[in-house]
């Protein structure tokens, strides 16, 4: 968490967020603050609720894990504000450390060269669009950070993604798998395109597929930047 987020969370009158995330920051919050825990999949309601509270003059912080600007709540707040024609309502986005950066730090330095961030969730995006992006990212030799790789109901996407990368990259290409990056329960694994599907992958996992030059050095995954050493 950034210093700025830390300070703001202690200043606002209301803090609202998905309940798991509220629990992660409960030690920061005080009894004077109104704390609202929401359910998953109620994002649009949550955004409207924040805007209703702000219209009543409350200072409200809505939290996301990682960076609210990357598949988080920032966009939805701005979209709802636009739709409700409340563009005079003051909104500040406080950036955070997105899962790609957090997972990369635990793996070593896999994002030292150009990379693509792709969510495998087809809940809000047609699968053809996602598949097209996977293919072009694989062909262009981008390092790839895959978000929402697999859920209990959605299990095929990570297999298709792996197969797409296998068409363009060697089966020994290193792959980093990080679960609950930078939380207490973090799990870090370095494997390969060939073997990655044997690892535990779920909605708390970020998968980073190396580019053609990435390699493993002891317990670190490294993508060279191109320096002459």
């Amino acid at each position: 968490m950034s210093l700025k987020a830390y300070r703001l969370l202690q200043q606002v009158e209301v803090v609202i967020g998905y309940k798991t995330y509220i629990e992660l920051i409960s030690e920061l919050l005080s009894a004077d603050q109104e704390i609202i825990k929401s359910k998953m999949t109620e994002e649009v309601e949550r955004a409207n609720q924040v805007i209703d509270l702000a219209r009543k003059g409350k200072s409200v912080a809505i939290i996301s894990s990682g960076d609210p600007g990357v598949y988080g709540m920032a966009g939805l707040i701005l979209e709802v504000r636009e739709k409700r024609r409340l563009v005079e309502l003051e909104v500040e986005i406080v950036p955070g450390i997105t899962a790609a950066s957090a997972a990369a730090a635990s793996l070593g330095a896999p994002l030292m060269h150009d990379y693509a961030v792709i969510s495998l969730s087809d809940l809000l995006t047609p699968w053809e669009v996602i598949e097209g992006r996977l293919k072009k990212a694989a062909r262009a030799d981008f390092v790839a950070a895959l978000y929402n790789p697999k859920s209990s109901r959605r299990t095929e996407q990570i297999e298709i993604a792996r197969d797409i990368f296998l068409e363009y990259r060697d089966s020994t290409t290193p792959v980093g798998i990080v679960r609950s990056a930078k939380r207490g329960s973090e799990e870090v694994t370095i494997t390969s395109l060939a073997d990655m599907l044997e690892e535990k992958i779920d909605m708390l996992t970020t998968v980073i597929i190396g580019n053609s030059e990435s390699y493993q050095s002891s317990n670190f995954l490294i993508t060279p930047r191109g320096y002459q050493l």
Copy 2:
């Protein structure tokens, strides 16, 4: 800056970094610490110096702006450690907020959907590789965050990049230009593919090109995530 980085910077015996970055954090540092300001383009020497100090038993922090794992010093430290066969040397990467996230927050929420991060500097990467990535990112409708877009000597790359995106996206596609993101001297502009080259762009600038659904709402740049509002 993260809380973790803030705390670690005050604990280590030596802090080393490019002089501009050291100056940005000078208030955090104390007279007890050894502070080493390095020059630009001396990255490999700097990495070796850090490793030499660490081998003597010093606790050393080497700083980057943004996220050290994204075109920063993290990879080089690990590469030098590998080359010098000092893999027993303890290294911890502390993730940060990379320029794409910082710039996005100042622009609104342009990174709410899949995005590609591409450096336009061909100092360490052949231009053909960069151009291939720009084309595939443009075709796959990735939002694009362009790092190192232009320097005093390197001025053509951003023009070529703009022309590539114009082949695949409408000339009205919104483009965000952020200089010195989240520093005191920040400058934020929202323009379009058609007009972006009229704006001031340099090495302190991050350029974010929207995807086919990105739009401007008052002073914010928004990429919709796909929610039904």
